[in-house]
C-alpha cells in the first residue's frame, strides 16, 4: 500500500531525485504539492492525486454535454474548469443537451480547449465519477474495462470522469454498482479480482 501524502510534505532529502507530477523541488528536498499517493522510485518521485477536477489534455477522449450552439460551433461542458470549443461543419446535427464522445484536439497555455470528432451518444445512462479514478476503471491495458464489458453492456469511459452505460436495466444497474465499488476502493490493491468476484456474483459488494 502506497503512502498518502499531503501538500507540503517532504518526500525526499536532497534534490537528487527527479520531481515528477504532483511534486516540486525546494532548496533542501522534494516536496508534494498535491494530496495523493506517493510513487517513489530510485531516480524519481511523483504523487498520484486522490482528488481533483479534470484537467484537459491533448489527445484525451472525453464525454461532454453540449451547453450551447453559437454560430458554427458548440460549447461543451467537459466537467472541467474550462468549457470545450467544438467547431461544427454543418453535417453534425447537434443541439444543446446532446451528449457526445469527443477528442481533445488541443489545449493552449491559458487552457482554452479545442475539441474534434464528436460522436453523439443516444439513450443510455450517464454517470459521473471522480476523474482521478478513471485509470482504475480502465485498468492495466484496459483489463478492467474488458471485465466490465463482459456482460454485454455498451460502455464508454471519458477521461474526464463521465461514463456512458447502455444495456438492459439489470446489467446497467450491476455495472453502476461495480463502478461505485471501483471509485470507493480505487486506492487499494487487487482491485480487478475484487470486481471480478463482484460481477460473477460471489461478493455482494459490501466487503471492504
Amino acid at each position: 500500500m502506497r503512502e498518502v501524502v499531503i501538500p507540503g510534505e517532504k518526500l525526499s532529502e536532497g534534490t537528487k531525485l527527479h520531481a515528477g507530477q504532483g511534486t516540486y523541488k525546494a532548496d533542501d528536498g522534494v516536496y508534494a504539492n498535491t494530496y495523493g499517493l506517493m510513487n517513489k522510485r530510485e531516480d524519481a518521485v511523483s504523487v498520484v492525486p486522490l482528488e481533483g477536477k479534470y484537467m484537459p489534455r491533448e489527445g484525451d477522449k472525453v464525454i461532454g454535454v453540449i451547453e450551447a450552439i453559437r454560430f458554427e460551433a458548440a460549447f461543451v461542458d467537459i466537467r472541467s474548469a474550462y468549457n470545450g470549443y467544438l467547431p461544427l461543419d454543418g453535417r453534425d446535427r447537434l443541439k444543446a443537451g446532446d451528449v457526445v464522445l469527443v477528442d481533445i484536439a488541443s489545449v493552449n497555455e491559458i487552457n482554452k480547449v479545442d475539441l474534434e470528432r464528436p460522436m453523439k451518444l443516444y439513450e443510455g445512462k450517464l454517470m459521473d465519477i471522480p476523474s482521478v479514478k478513471i485509470p482504475r476503471v480502465v485498468g492495466h491495458k484496459g483489463s478492467m474495462l474488458e471485465l466490465l464489458r463482459k456482460s454485454g453492456v455498451t460502455l464508454f469511459v471519458g477521461r474526464n470522469g463521465r461514463v456512458y452505460i447502455k444495456g438492459d436495466t439489470e446489467t446497467v444497474k450491476k455495472t453502476e454498482e461495480a463502478l461505485n465499488m471501483i471509485v470507493e476502493l480505487a486506492h487499494t490493491d487487487g482491485l480487478t479480482d475484487k470486481i471480478k468476484d463482484f460481477l460473477e456474483g460471489e461478493s455482494n459488494g459490501n466487503e471492504k
Binding site: 499531503i6 507540503g8 504539492n33 477536477k53 474550462y82 468549457n83 491559458i110 476502493l185 471492504k208
Partner: protein
C-alpha cells in the same frame, strides 16, 4: 477585548479558567471530506468552536471581470451563522467578516498554485456554526484542509492559531472569556515547512517583548494545528475504503 471584570483569568497555580496550562491548546479535531456536493470539504471542532469549510473549483470565473489570465482567483467567504453566538448574530456580511475573508484569502493565496488554472476561480466557503473565540484561525485551518481535499495543488498547508494576553500572562489559544476580558489577542497563520508568516494581526496592547513571546507561542500552536490537519487528511484514505 479589554472589557472590565473581576474575573481572575489565571489562578495562583498558573492554571486558566478551563484548567489549561498557559501554553496549552484547546482540543482540536478535524475531519476531511464531509460534504457530498463540494469538491473538497472539512469539519473542524476547536474547543467549543465548530466550523465547516467547503471548496468549489477551479471553475468558470463569475463575475467575469474578476478572472485573471495569470491565475485562478481565490474567493474566500467567512460567515457566522446567526445561531453561532449567544444572543443572535445579524445574518449577512459585515465589517468584521469582510475583513476576515480578505486576510484569509491573502494567506491562502501564498500557498495555492493558482497559476495552474488561469481565468478560473476557486470558492472557499467557511461557515462558523458555533463561535467561542479564535474563529478566524479555526476557519483558516479548516479551509486549508478543504483545499487539499479538493485536490487543489498547494506548496504547503496553512496552519493557524492565536496567542494573547490574559491577566498578566501570555497564553496560547485564547478562550472566550480570555478574549473578552483579556488584554490582547494575536491571531497568526504560518506555512509550516518554511515558517513563513501569512497572517498576523493584533488586537489590544502588548509590549515589544510580550509581542515576541506571543508570536513564538502562536507558532507553536500553528504547528500543533498542522499536525491535526495532517492526521485528518491521512485518515480519510486509511486502510480499505473511504470512510
Amino acid at each position: 477585548m479589554g472589557m472590565k471584570s473581576d474575573i481572575k483569568l489565571i489562578d495562583a497555580k498558573g492554571k486558566r479558567l478551563d484548567g489549561r496550562a498557559i501554553d496549552e491548546m484547546r482540543p482540536l479535531k478535524i475531519e476531511a471530506g464531509v460534504l457530498e456536493q463540494a469538491d473538497g470539504s472539512a469539519y473542524l471542532e476547536w474547543g467549543n468552536n465548530k466550523v465547516i469549510a467547503a471548496v468549489y473549483g477551479p471553475r468558470e470565473c463569475l463575475p467575469r471581470h474578476k478572472a485573471s489570465p495569470y491565475g485562478s482567483t481565490l474567493m474566500y467567504r467567512y460567515n457566522m451563522a446567526p445561531f453561532s453566538v449567544d444572543d443572535r448574530k445579524r445574518p449577512g456580511r459585515d465589517r468584521r467578516s469582510t475583513e476576515i475573508s480578505k486576510i484569509s484569502e491573502e494567506a491562502l493565496n501564498k500557498v495555492v498554485l493558482t497559476e495552474r488554472f488561469p481565468n478560473s476561480m476557486i470558492n472557499i466557503n467557511v461557515e462558523v456554526l458555533q463561535a467561542d473565540a479564535g474563529t478566524r484561525c479555526a476557519a483558516l485551518t479548516a479551509a486549508s484542509v478543504a483545499l487539499a481535499d479538493a485536490g487543489i495543488p498547494m506548496k504547503d498547508m496553512v496552519a493557524s492559531c492565536a496567542a494573547g494576553k490574559a491577566g498578566d500572562h501570555i497564553v496560547l489559544d485564547l478562550g472566550k472569556l480570555e478574549d473578552n476580558f483579556g488584554k490582547a489577542d494575536v491571531p497568526m497563520a504560518i506555512v509550516p515547512h518554511t515558517g513563513e508568516i501569512v497572517l498576523l494581526q493584533m488586537d489590544g496592547d502588548l509590549s515589544p517583548k510580550e509581542f515576541k513571546t506571543a508570536m513564538t507561542l502562536a507558532t507553536k500552536g500553528c504547528m500543533m494545528a498542522y499536525e491535526e490537519q495532517k492526521k485528518a487528511l491521512k485518515a480519510k484514505y486509511k486502510g480499505g475504503g473511504k470512510k
